[in-house]
């Protein structure tokens, strides 16, 4: 692995510059206020245990990705012109991935910003690998993980009752790798009966889906294409034919996961579709979210990169984003109009309010940097 730059020294230098600005003072004060318990800022210190911990965390994360077979090499560099750090990852077969972290994120978020950023990068690595047909994980490691998961699911792993089988199919059915050494059903005759019942249930669910959503929608999903779904509150989504994270929120690309428990796949898909179409707030309250950046309606996303929260549900996001955006507006003066916060997406704070920014846009030129 090529790891070419002293990560910590790089960010120390960035942060020292930032600490001298008024914006730094304002945002750091705000961060402490919002967190409720003031703590030492880690990047500026250098000597602190937290700094060493950060360096170790960064390097161990990279090393874990490499050991998992997710990346082949990584290098980190600073782009002075854009005032960002750039992490370049080589995933294999000439597929590379580049992620950046800004000085504003670092000055405001400290270690939590880096942790959150690396989590987002980790998610993106898997996504890009899948898109390019690269294996998701080191196969040997995946088998071990699968075994561990199943051991936790059934202990002891004997004969599963029907409900458990349905549950396990929902949890693991989308994986192509079949766990070994598990007696799904001891008796062949029982197995055949259950398989027949499963097929009948699947067919019945498909019929209900067609009856309620139409044959075109069914064919669409069967062809592996995402089905457009309009929420009752106006949100736009894509529904995918899979049991987990079957919904993509188009506004920000977030993957959302809610399930209808104990039903065949097409019942699950129809159920999620109907709930979105008729009771979108319930879906948003319930679903877990991975990735994404902006809430429907343009509400600022919780900037997890700022270090306030780690894994969040959407319910947290809505409340916290509103609170955060308001407090930011109050705390930052006009000189801070270019301040940026970074979560899984970006929010540009201006003197008049917060504005959503597509992470792919060149926000540096638009903010005069």
């Amino acid at each position: 692995m090529a790891f070419t730059t002293d990560f910590l020294a790089l960010f120390r230098s960035i942060v020292r510059e930032r600490e001298e600005t008024r914006r730094m003072t304002a945002t750091e004060a705000l961060r402490r206020q919002l967190e409720g318990s003031p703590r030492e800022f880690v990047f500026g210190g250098g000597r602190s245990r937290a700094s060493r911990s950060l360096e170790s965390f960064f390097q161990s994360t990279i090393e874990n990705w490499r050991a998992d077979g997710l990346i082949e090499a990584a290098d980190f560099s600073r782009n002075d012109e854009r005032d960002i750090g750039v992490l370049r990852l080589h995933l294999g077969r000439e597929v590379t991935l580049e992620h950046t972290i800004t000085s504003a994120e670092l000055t405001m978020g400290g270690t939590e910003a880096v942790r959150s950023w690396l989590r987002a990068v980790g998610t993106d690595i898997v996504r890009v690998r899948t898109r390019h047909g690269l294996p998701e994980r080191n196969p040997r490691r995946r088998v071990v993980d699968m075994g561990a998961n199943l051991d936790r699911t059934v202990n002891p792993p004997l004969i599963f009752d029907e409900a458990t089988q349905v549950q396990i199919r929902q949890m693991y059915g989308h994986l192509t790798l079949r766990p070994g050494g598990i007696n799904w059903v001891a008796d062949e005759a029982v197995r055949a009966d259950l398989e027949r019942e499963r097929r009948e249930a699947d067919e019945k669910a498909e019929q209900l889906f067609i009856r309620s959503a139409g044959e075109e929608a069914f064919r669409h999903l069967e062809a592996g294409k995402p089905l457009a779904v309009r929420g009752s509150a106006g949100g736009k989504y894509h529904l995918h034919k899979r049991s987990t994270f079957c919904v993509t929120r188009l506004h920000d690309g977030a993957q959302m996961c809610a399930v209808v428990p104990g039903v065949p796949l097409y019942d699950h898909l129809l159920g999620i579709k109907l709930v979105i179409e008729t009771d979108e707030p319930r879906f948003i309250e319930t679903a877990n979210v991975s990735g994404g950046g902006l809430m429907p309606g343009g509400v600022a996303w919780v900037p997890s990169g700022v270090g306030m929260m780690g894994e969040m549900t959407t319910r947290h996001s809505v409340d916290f984003a509103s609170q955060y955006a308001n407090e930011m507006r109050q705390a930052l003066d006009a000189s801070a109009r270019d301040s940026m916060l970074y979560g899984h997406g970006m929010v540009l704070i201006t003197s008049t309010g917060a504005r959503a920014v597509n992470p792919a846009d060149n926000i540096f030129s638009s903010s005069g940097r």
């Binding site: 019945k204 009856r211 994270f245 209808v260 104990g262 039903v263 159920g271 679903a287």
Partner: protein, 75 residues
């Protein structure tokens, strides 16, 4: 009016038909609906098969075809 309530379950769905003109069916249908509401199920009513559905919060709003989605959970 005759209504059908299709409850999603592990077999795909289980359909129960009620003739609301009959007092015993009306009572049974109302009890069924109340039980579903208590379990936080989502009931979506379709004026007819294939039509746009609407979520139902009151028994009186049930339509000819009604699909019951068990309470969803975060995945």
């Amino acid at each position: 009016m005759k209504i059908t309530i299709r409850k999603m379950d592990k077999t795909g769905d289980t359909a129960v038909a009620f003739d609301l003109e009959k007092p015993e069916d009306l009572t049974a249908a109302r009890a069924e609906f109340d039980a579903l509401m208590k379990r936080n199920a989502t009931v979506v009513a379709f004026p007819k098969a294939g039509a746009q559905g609407e979520t139902v919060k009151r028994f009186e709003d049930l339509q000819e075809e009604n699909v019951v989605v068990p309470a969803i959970v975060g995945g």
